[in-house]
Symmetry: none
Subunit: 113 residues, 2 copies
């Protein structure tokens, strides 16, 4: 449950883990339910779940002999915001000139503060 940018981006680096997040966005699932949707062993899924939990992206609670996993998407927001920093770079379709302009405007904004 660190949820710093590192543990979040690390959790997102694996395609299986990203798919697990998408599944959990639709419904909460027990470990075996998740494993059924992939071609790898339950043990491997379990390791992925641990890494997702370390990133704070999911939480799980025991219910009888099951462990229900659910999405806790708040840390995704920080990754989203990290990427949002670059929004000014990609949304203008940048020539080098335009990039210079964007940079100048950003610098001006900073000195205004």
């Amino acid at each position: 449950m660190n949820s710093g940018p590192q543990s979040v981006f690390r959790a997102l680096a694996d395609p299986t883990r990203r798919q697990i997040l998408l599944h959990l966005a639709k419904e909460n699932m027990a470990i075996a339910d998740i494993a059924d949707r992939f071609d790898i062993t339950r043990t491997a899924i379990n390791k992925h779940l641990t890494i997702l939990e370390e990133g704070g992206l999911i939480k799980s609670e025991v219910s009888g002999r099951e462990r229900r996993n659910s999405l806790t998407p708040e840390p995704l927001k920080s990754a989203f915001e990290w990427l949002g920093y670059f929004e000014n770079f990609w949304d203008v379709k940048l020539s080098d000139l335009q990039r210079e302009i964007a940079k100048d405007m950003k610098e001006k904004k900073e000195t205004d503060q």
Copy 2:
């Protein structure tokens, strides 16, 4: 230069690479310039740059004996959008509020007519 979600998220997984992106967002730099800003060898930096390039996040062109690296942020947009899918999960309250506001404005507009 694959720039699929996998190569992008993979490139973002390492903290050094994320920092390199932030540096290149400020200014284009040669390899040695980048290496000066970290405590690891130029060779290691070079490997990171290769991975960033595979993700389509940077491009580099030779200029004399230097290789200038620059940000090509478009692929970051796809990662941003992937995360945006979860926006409704982390900001449920906000989106509800926005929906209310939108509704109110629409109603107001209708009464204005």
